[in-house]
Amino acid sequence: MNKVSNIVRPFARPLVLVGGVLLIVAALLPWATFVLNEGPYPDKATLQFFDAPFAVTGFRFHLLLLGLLVLIASFAPVPSRARVLRALGWGGLLVSVISGLFITIEGGGLGAITAADGATAFGALVGLVGGAAVILGAIALGVEPPAHWTLKLPTAAAYAVLVVVFVLVLLGVSLVLTAGGQGGAANPYAGPLFLAFLGFAAGAMAALSATGAIRFVSELSEKHRIFSVVVLLLCALLLPFTDAGSEYWMTVAANIGIYAATAIGLNIVVGLAGLLDLGYVAFMGIGALVAANFSGAAAAAFGVHLPFPVAAVIAAVVAGIFGAIVGSPTLRVRGDYLAIVTLAFGEIFTRSAQNNIGGLTNGANAIPGIPALSLFGADFNKSFTLGSIKLPAGVLYYVLIVLLVALVMTVFANLKFSRIGRAWIAIREDEDAARAMGIRTGQAKILAFLVGAMLAGLAGAVFAHKNGTVSYESFKFLESVTLLAAVILGGMGSIPGAVLGASLLFVLPEKLREFSEYRLLIFGLALVLIMRFRPQGLVPDRHRRAELADEDVGGAPVDEVHEVPGAVKEAKA
């Protein structure tokens, strides 16, 4: 690469400019030589040549935008210019590759994106070249580290900036959710369009991060934490009023919320206390079963119908008790041995639930017909009118779950920065040292299991009512792995991380249902790749960030401490 950039260096700037222009040209060129068998490729990508340069939409619009941004960035004073340009170039490249690849596959050969039957369509190739040119030129310009803004804002201005940013985030989320449109027979290209959008979004985000804007905002929100949390909560509650406020997305978002709440609970056990739990979804199952049995459903074991808040509390308590029981071997068992104990517990739970243990689970028939929640006369599964606005069914569940997640996050944040939270972190770092410092490690570990299980139980209670059926099939090993993956993907011990991780792991499969046959394959490979390239997660916890940074200096990672005692002692000495 160095050699190449040496040759290119004198032409770096022109190369970037040419690349930018090529991206714009690509946006105006036709992309497919003929109407594909599934119907025309959307956004007028078929057989159009400069037809309506001002009506370019969809992925072509994104490409146009990227090209214009490249041109602007190469003239305007932008911090970390080369890095910004490189990110934009990658965005253009990804959009071109994804769209081109898909048209090629769907069209049955390269003829679809080059020339066939007298028609030509070089949009994809031009975009590809343009993107590559920008990247190459940017690298030759010399990529410097992202800028760091030292700007100090007065409180009022900071608040204003935060509000604007969070509203933009809200719109961004809505945009991501609706990108590519809802798939289906009428919209066969929803999947690739969404992927192309992701390519654009990734490029744009990386460019923003290169300018230092993202770091600035995150530091700002860190400083005004309470304000940020309130605004973020409000924004989350406003999601139903955006384009994403359809019944479908509200249902998906509500499910995400349930799993996010559970993932935060797991984060206490894994992220804070460092205890690996491979059967965690069982606690959610226990919560769901308790709630189901007190719901007045026909198949419930108890003929009583308790109000939801009461049932939810009982569910949390019962799950918590089981959490403490499962956690008790931690008094004696450590590390990987604990993983197998929790895995065993998870398997025992599914097996028992399947066999209708104690007549409480209705066995393989599951407990169906759990009534939907209703509060103040509003049924949660019906559409709901607020003033003159009619909101789709599922909104109330969404609101309930946003509040639940907010509650769980508050619990987590308070615990994390409390005495017990510090004790957990100490245990995670070095259990023996923690004990030597007077921490009652046994109590603390069981407490971690108990609190984590209670949160999962609470989420399970909502799950039962939201889905209407509680079956052992919803709580299998793969669900535990998915939850663990959500925690790790987001960043262990990090509060927004667990929510982000759960969102990604549930939104992506929904958006990419076209590829559902390969869903698990991609999931597995993605886990491997994340661990390979970003093991600290997308939003690493600050403490953990510090640890991971130390690693290069200190030799063995802190987590390995109790594994190879001798080696680490030497490394530390």
Binding site: G108, L110, G184, T251, N365, S474, E510, R513
Partner: protein, 408 residues
């Protein structure tokens, strides 16, 4: 490193040369419906079934068979003015994911009906969502009686969801029919039961056991194996001690076949009997032995020309997956929806969501001869086709042994 890039470049260029300028462009492009008038747009038949994970073999068969029915309808211009399309949603055999899939289809106004689900537990979450939007649902595979006749299906049947129909048979017909055959016709009085613990197998075995006792037979052992177990030596030894004359297996062929083989290996030479879940060629391939029995809905396929037509059409399409245990049912379900849609719309009718009520009614009145025999629905949405056939493995192939209607 350098050598490496040269090599990969050469490979890329080679591939490009090979692929260059080829397309699969078909003339007509978007009007794939051939000569039909599809000016009014596309209507969607939804499918909810597992497309990934362990049960995908059955789910893919359901999807492909529905696709086959839709393709045929498009060729024949069954629905005037519209092109039909299949929209398959993966439920991962997980009730919560099934609910999401159902919500997705329910929010699509072009969806006329839904075929699915495979698992009864998933159906439980899908039913209410589709009911809310009055979308007709026809299941090719749910056998749990409570889905149509409510929790007290035996004593006080009451229709659970007006939009829900099924073309397959229910546990409380198939189980007793098998019991009658085993106790009366085959004269086996001491019977052991093994199930896989899943909804289908459990339901079937429960109904079977009750009938055996009523007929004077005896259940000498009742065991359960894990969903993923493959070594049955332990459970076989357990039931062997009870000296059964026959084994009833509540479950599907992937475990049923090996179980039969291992029975033989353990020198327990008794027939294994199961429901339509083991009535599949694969059962024999995986170890099903001569003398094994299975019940299945409808009259034997050889006596049904429509069944053969389906099998031929399916093989002609060269799908990568077999139609499986529920393909023919899925095909019939799709045809029921499509034909009812054609009646509802008539000549020149416009589809709108208001037509969904009329479509449910039309499906309720639907009656035709399909790949699984006569397809029609009773007042609860169950198939009126109560004809069942007992098949026996004879010389390495399923052969019908007794056809009849379960009288109760």
């Amino acid at each position: 490193m350098r050598k490496h890039s040269v090599k990969s470049a050469a490979i890329v260029v080679g591939v490009l040369l090979v692929a260059a300028c080829s397309t699969n462009k078909t003339e007509g492009g978007s009007t794939a419906g051939g000569s039909c008038d599809t000016s009014k747009g596309t209507l969607t038949v939804g499918v909810i079934a597992p497309q990934s994970g362990g049960l995908s073999a059955l789910g893919l068969g359901i999807k492909n068979s529905a696709q086959l029915a839709v393709d045929e309808a498009n060729e024949k211009c069954t629905v005037k003015g519209y092109k039909l399309a299949v929209d398959t949603q993966d439920d991962e055999a997980n009730p919560a994911k099934g609910a999401q899939a159902a919500t997705k289809l329910a929010s699509d106004t072009s969806v006329v009906g839904v075929i699915g689900t495979l698992n009864s537990s998933v159906a439980q979450t899908v039913q209410p969502i589709l009911f809310e939007k009055k979308i007709v649902q026809v299941s090719p595979a749910n056998t749990n009686p409570s889905l149509t006749r409510g929790e007290n299906f035996a004593t006080a049947p009451a229709r659970a969801f007006a939009n829900y129909f099924r073309v397959c048979t229910t546990d409380d017909l198939q189980g007793p029919f098998a019991a009658d055959y085993l106790v009366n016709d085959a004269g086996k009085k001491k019977i052991a039961i093994i199930t896989d613990g899943k909804t289908y197998g459990e339901g079937l075995a429960t109904e079977f056991a009750a009938r055996v006792k009523a007929k004077g037979g005896e259940i000498v052992a009742q065991e359960k194996v894990g969903e993923k177990d493959t070594d049955f030596a332990g459970v076989i030894s357990t039931i062997k001690a009870a000296n059964p004359e026959a084994l009833y297996y509540g479950g599907e062929y992937p475990q049923g076949g090996p179980l039969s083989k291992q029975l033989k290996d353990a020198q327990l030479n008794i027939p294994l009997m199961g429901g339509d879940g083991i009535f599949d060629g694969k059962f024999i391939e995986l170890g099903g032995k001569d003398g094994d029995l299975a019940t299945s809905v409808g009259a034997p396929t050889e006596s049904l020309p429509s069944a053969k037509t389906f099998v031929d059409a399916y093989s002609a399409k060269k799908y990568s997956d077999a139609y499986g245990a529920y393909g023919a049912f899925s095909y019939d379900a799709a045809n029921a929806i499509i034909a009812s849609l054609a009646t509802t719309l008539g000549d020149g009718g416009e589809w709108s969501e208001d037509k969904r009520d009329a479509l449910i009614e039309a499906v309720g009145k639907y009656s035709a001869s399909g790949a699984t025999g006569d397809v029609a629905f009773d007042e609860f949405g169950d198939s009126t086709n109560k004809v069942l056939t007992v098949y026996q493995v004879t010389a390495g192939a399923w052969k019908d042994a007794k056809t009849g209607e379960f009288a109760g």
